[in-house]
Amino acid sequence: MKMSLRARLLGTIVGAILLCFVISIVAARFTLQRDLRSQGQAQVTNGASAFGGYWDSRKDQIRLLVAQDAVADALRAALEAHNAKGLSDQLSNVARTSGLSFLTIVDANGRVVARANGPTGGSLAANPFVKRALTGETVSTAGVLTPADLAGEGLAPQATADIKDADGKVVSHLNEGLALVSAAPMSDRNERTIGAIYGGVLMNHYYDIVDQSTHALGGASALLDGDAIVASTILAPDGTRIVDQALPETAGVASGTPFDGSETVGGTEYLVHVEPILNDQNKPVGARWYGTPMAAINDIINHTTESLALWGLLAAIVALALAVPVVQRISNTIGRRSKQVSDAAKELGVAIVGSEVSGDHVAATKTAVEKSGALIDDLAKAGDPTGKVAQLKSLNEELSGDMFVIDTLSQEMSSRMTQAVARVHELGDVAGALDKLVTGES
């Protein structure tokens, strides 16, 4: 494809600008993705730590409530008196005003004396928290309530759920509960252990903590039992909370390993940090999930990229606006010079032809003068009574000398012209090449 110098120069400039433009955008996008994701991950980790702070605060609050109840005179007196009805009423009031899911008092043998809710009776002697409390220890920990524990406290309906995958297909059934529990010994006036009080908050379908966290920190929070969401502020596309859904990507957290990365939940991609929830024996019993939508990061990246593209386009237009006149001027100058060279070559060609024709004419004149000299010699042989022939001979010899000089000069010029011919051809080639470069045409 033939292209003029103007087209080539402009093409090169446009190509260079576009290449620079594309590389800049790709590099900027890559750098933004890396840096913003890194910054976002740090932000999410900080948010997850704050979420953990709300969790710990709630745990301490429960411990404090239970510990206060353990030393409440009214409760201790009722326990000593085995006033189950009175205890049950008091526990119901305390649980309701304190926001506890369950609150139960057992005697020194672990038999249930009264519950805030649920059926009375039964035994918690095998319950590990109650057992520890009856030995005098105040327990405060996260834990998993078994189906039997939940049934005893009347909490089974709150915890029981079918766990579905992202497509809504049931993948498992959950009948245990993630809870913050506390248990404390109860003593009589002589500081003898007469029983224990055991209470806590079941986290399944309990949204206070996740709502509090999201309200304060933004993003989305969730509590996981295994890989199942039991409470969350993650919203589905229809605006409802996502709960009772499995998150297979974070299943590893159940073994105690935190997870950092991106995860798509409810059709939204989040940058997440998932922290295992450990009980007071440092065993994982669940997980706290905290994430911010990747859209927040992607929006910045896209906006920055669009801005770069827009400004780059503007810069390209300005650069072209500056370059076009320069290229135009250079092309015009080269074109004008090319034409000058071409015209000069043509004129030199005429001069060469003239020189050649002139040389031929000089040679013919020289031959005529030589013939004239020969005729004068013949006339001199016939006699020269007036001396005019001798004068004519002298004049002819002078003419012959001049002709020799003219002929020699003519030959010298012819030789020079021959060299000039070669140069003219070279100049013609250069002019042609310049013309082709400028116009793109041969």
Partner: protein, 71 residues
Amino acid sequence: MADVILYFGSNADTMIATKALKDAGVAAKMIPKPANVSSPANLCLSVDGAAESQAVSALGAAGVALGGVAK
């Protein structure tokens, strides 16, 4: 005064010398090389003997290499 012959290394030098002498105001006539002059060029210049030194000076000033002078 008799003419002197100035000769040069080539006919081109002879031509250049003719122009140089003309510019310097020295009358010179280009003639065929005489038989008694030994030079690669077959043209030489004839100048008046009185103007010889002026001609040689003009040629020197013009940077033209003079092959020799024959009298």
